[in-house]
């Protein structure tokens, strides 16, 4: 692997602008307590940081492991160099979504369509049986829903992948 | 490869041939003087010969060592004499010389060391019983080669009977009698210095003793077996202080064994200094301790002190036993103790000049189990 051709030395600027990433000295504290590091392949957040620093774009794009993260942020608490690894995981996911639309999570379509990832407020009888008042959800408030959708349409990920959000 | 020269001789001609060899060395300037055993008016003594004319009565193989040659070597070479000296010594004397070199009491720089094969020596009083000194050595060699050293009612010294060092190491030349067959003795040049001297001595190099190594090995095996037996016996007899005190009960603190010992190198032994010149009151105090006090006292204390001082350097030459006026067999006590102390440091007295004497340098972690530092 020749670092000259195969690496983009400014990759970190596109992914993780704060530069905290550089403080990492590979001590693997983040990895040793990470729930998803039990997976196979394990999520090794230290290795993802390394890919970014070394600018190995291709390898990083292929990486599925960032999506295994359980978002517990324990790595952020324990990292001695305050690299904020969970923020980096989100940043890598955002970068992957921006560079490969197959990475874009489907959940955002649900949110665009009905404001929520789940069918909120639909179970009216159940709510009544539990003595709960009906929910004034966005799904039913078409006017607010439209405003919400228009707002989203102006954001990059929705506007660049507008085909996903057709009626 | 070691070079040999055969000195063949007819019966009763051995010493004359040897004299010729030493004359050659002096005349051709190989050395300026030769220290060699020579028949004197009474008995045989190491003699410092500077003119070849006086060489005829040499008798190197005489089975006697009136005084340990190492002591003489020390007086001759402690301060360099400025002359090149050949010394003809027995293996035990040479091993003592090696220890004295390390104690800076002998300086081998201008010395040509000639080692004698040795079947052992008789006590001085026994040796005196031989009348005709001319033939004694040859006859002795023949008998010894046949394994017979005992004569009438006496045999070679106790130390020699258990001595496992019949041949000399660390030498420039050797006079080989063991395994040399009869009618001849071999001169072996071991070091380049030895070869140069052999060349100059006028004796024609050539030939080699067949069966010498095998004979030497056999002799060593026999002597080692005898030694181990003697050690076991002696250890059994001296299990306690009392037993040891009994062994030494005849001792009168004349300290002669210390005078004879080649590796007891002190100028003045502590036992003769003011440290042991106690005043009356102290003797009284000791007497009151047990109600009585054998005099002279400190007998056991003396022998134990000698043991702590020199057991590491003891070469087992037996001069201490020979020197005791009251016939105490002192040698086994020292050889048995030396066997243990030298083994503890896996050191062998006289083995090599470069082997550092134990406890000579300051080492922080030596004998840790004794010093208590758990390492």
């Amino acid at each position: 692997m020749d670092l000259q051709e195969a690496s983009n030395k400014d990759l970190w600027k596109d992914i993780y602008k704060t530069g905290d990433l550089h403080f990492c000295f590979n001590c693997s504290t983040c990895v040793s307590g990470c729930p998803a590091s039990h997976g196979d392949p394990p999520l090794l957040v230290r290795n993802l940081a390394r890919l970014v620093i070394l600018g190995l774009e291709e390898e990083l794009l292929q990486e599925d492991t960032p999506w295994a993260c359980v978002s517990c942020s324990k790595c952020e608490e324990m990292c001695p160099m305050d690299v904020k690894p969970f923020e980096m995981i989100l940043a890598i996911r955002q970068w992957q979504s921006a560079n490969d639309e197959t990475r874009v999570p489907q959940a955002i379509v649900e949110i665009y369509k009905r404001g929520y990832t789940q069918a909120v407020g639909v179970n009216k009888e159940l709510r009544e049986s539990l003595g709960l008042p009906p929910l004034k959800t966005l799904t039913e408030n078409i006017e607010q829903l439209e405003l919400f959708r228009e707002m989203l349409m102006k954001t990059k990920v929705v506007s660049e992948n507008d085909y996903m959000f057709g009626e | 490869m070691a070079k040999f020269a055969k000195l063949s001789f007819q019966k009763d001609e051995m010493n004359r041939q040897l004299a010729g060899f030493f004359k050659g060395m002096l005349e051709n300037g190989a050395v300026d003087a030769v220290l060699v055993p020579m028949a004197q008016k009474k008995g045989v003594r190491l003699t410092l010969v500077t003119s070849a004319a006086n060489m005829d009565r040499v008798d190197p193989f005489a089975p006697v060592a009136a005084v340990s040659g190492a002591k003489i070597a020390s007086s001759l070479t402690a301060r360099p004499s400025g002359r090149r000296l050949a010394m003809v010594l027995r293996p035990c004397e040479i091993r003592a010389v090696v220890e004295l070199v390390k104690l800076k009491q002998v300086n081998l720089e201008d010395v040509l060391l000639i080692g004698l094969d040795c079947y052992g020596r008789y006590e001085n009083t026994d040796f005196a019983k031989f009348e005709d000194l001319e033939k004694t050595s040859e006859l002795f060699l023949e008998n010894a080669q046949a394994g017979k050293t005992a004569v009438e009612d006496f045999d070679i010294a106790g130390a020699c009977r258990i001595c496992e060092f019949p041949t000399a190491e660390n030498v420039d030349m050797r006079l080989c009698a063991i395994g040399a067959g009869d009618g001849g003795v071999f001169i072996e040049a071991v070091t380049p210095k030895g070869e140069a001297a052999l060349g100059k001595s006028g004796v024609k190099a050539g030939g080699a003793p067949t069966g010498r190594d095998e004979a030497v090995k056999k002799l060593i095996a026999a002597r080692t077996e005898a030694r181990d037996k003697k050690f076991a016996e002696y250890r059994a007899e001296t299990g306690s202080f009392e037993a040891l005190a009994d062994k030494l009960s005849a001792c009168v603190n004349c300290y002669n064994c210390r005078v004879a010992c080649p590796v007891c190198y002190c100028k003045e032994c502590v036992f003769v200094t003011d440290t042991f010149r106690h005043d009356g009151e102290q003797f009284m105090m000791w007497a009151e301790q047990g109600g009585m006090l054998k005099m002279p006292n400190d007998t056991l204390f003396y022998h134990l002190t000698r043991m702590t001082h020199m057991s590491l350097f003891c070469v087992g030459c037996g001069q201490c036993t020979s020197a005791c006026p009251n016939d105490i067999d002192v040698m086994p006590m020292f050889r048995v103790c030396a066997d243990k102390t030298q083994a503890r440091f896996d050191y062998q007295a006289g083995r090599s000049v470069d082997e550092e004497q134990p406890m000579a340098g300051f080492q922080a972690d030596e004998l840790v189990e004794v010093t208590g530092q758990v390492k």
């Binding site: 359980v70 978002s71 942020s73 921006a98 407020g121 919400f148 707002m151 | -």
Partner: protein, 300 residues
């Protein structure tokens, strides 16, 4: 004290009984709740935050503006909503450009976000504002004689300077104190602080290992404690720790793991005398073994 209840997606959609428990217990303890009209998804980490920061913060901004309009902080039960909203607010507060951009996007919807309103977790409110003594004094029933264990939601612990409210994020005790206030005795065990593993994509991307990871936690519970119930305070932990027990049982072909899991507010509601059918009826692991053993508390 007034707080704006942010329900998120899972609670109202799948476990409305938890919503009922919260709506029932809060007023009793002096916290009046207002609804977050027209709230949207918090957004969950697996959605906009994993796609585009701008979209994430616009959505968070939308929600935060509701609380600001109401003039009070959010109170959240779901761990993901809590940390997503708090991290969203954190990003906005530290990135003026992004704040302007979000307000620019919100403007046509008549909304505005300044970060004035905070985001607080329900167990923090109960632990810090209400306090265990007040809870204990209101009890009609208690969990006396019951052994329970607590599962701290990672989202309320780490990173402590953003989401934490415990004295020590590495040795939390809030949920234990609250559970003890209900009369139960809480057992500790070696893997107490191990994440339940239910959130994010761990279960989806490597199911066997995720199950194994969860099973190691449940084995420790069975071995080391006499837990009659598990008290959680995050909807993801609640659903996952129930479902994973059934998944493991199916995998090993034996009903080994069946420890009832409650959200803390449900236990609180039960102890305040509310009807179990309303406040803790939806579950995948039967809870009667706990509900039947509630002990009435006679006023002093």
């Amino acid at each position: 004290m007034q707080l704006c209840l942010f329900l998120g997606c899972n609670t109202p959609a799948i476990r409305p009984d938890v919503e009922r428990a919260i709506r029932a217990t809060m007023p009793v303890l002096g916290i009046d709740l207002v609804d977050a009209d027209n709230y949207v998804c918090c957004p969950a980490f697996g959605s906009f935050p994993s796609a585009d920061e701008e979209a994430w913060l616009a959505t968070s901004g939308w929600n935060l503006s509701i609380a600001e309009e109401k003039g009070c902080d959010f109170v959240v039960q779901c761990g993901s909503c809590y940390s997503s909203l708090r991290m969203g607010r954190e990003h906005l507060m530290h990135n003026a450009a992004m704040m302007n951009r979000v307000n620019e996007l919100l403007d046509p919807t008549g909304r505005k976000v300044t970060g004035k309103s905070g985001v607080r977790h329900v167990s923090e409110v109960l632990y810090r504002e209400v306090g265990p003594e007040k809870i204990a004094s209101h009890l009609k029933k208690s969990l006396e004689g019951l052994h329970g264990i607590v599962q701290y939601p990672c989202h309320t612990l780490f990173p402590s300077e953003v989401v934490g409210f415990e004295d020590s994020a590495r040795a939390p005790k809030g949920l234990r104190v609250l559970t003890e206030a209900l009369g139960a005795s809480v057992d500790g065990y070696s893997r107490e602080l191990q994440c339940c593993g239910g959130a994010g994509g761990f279960m989806k991307s490597t199911p066997e290992q995720a199950i194994e990871f969860a099973q190691s936690k449940f084995d420790a519970i069975l071995e080391e404690t006499q837990a009659d119930f598990i008290a959680v305070s995050c909807i993801t932990c609640l659903m996952f720790m129930e479902n994973v027990q059934n998944t493991i049982n199916k995998k090993i072909g034996e009903e080994r793991y069946k420890i009832p899991v409650f959200d803390y507010n449900q236990l609180l509601a039960l102890c305040l005398g509310f009807d179990p059918k309303e406040v803790s009826s939806i579950c995948n692991v039967p809870r009667d073994s706990v509900i039947d053993r509630l002990v009435p508390v006679h006023p002093a």
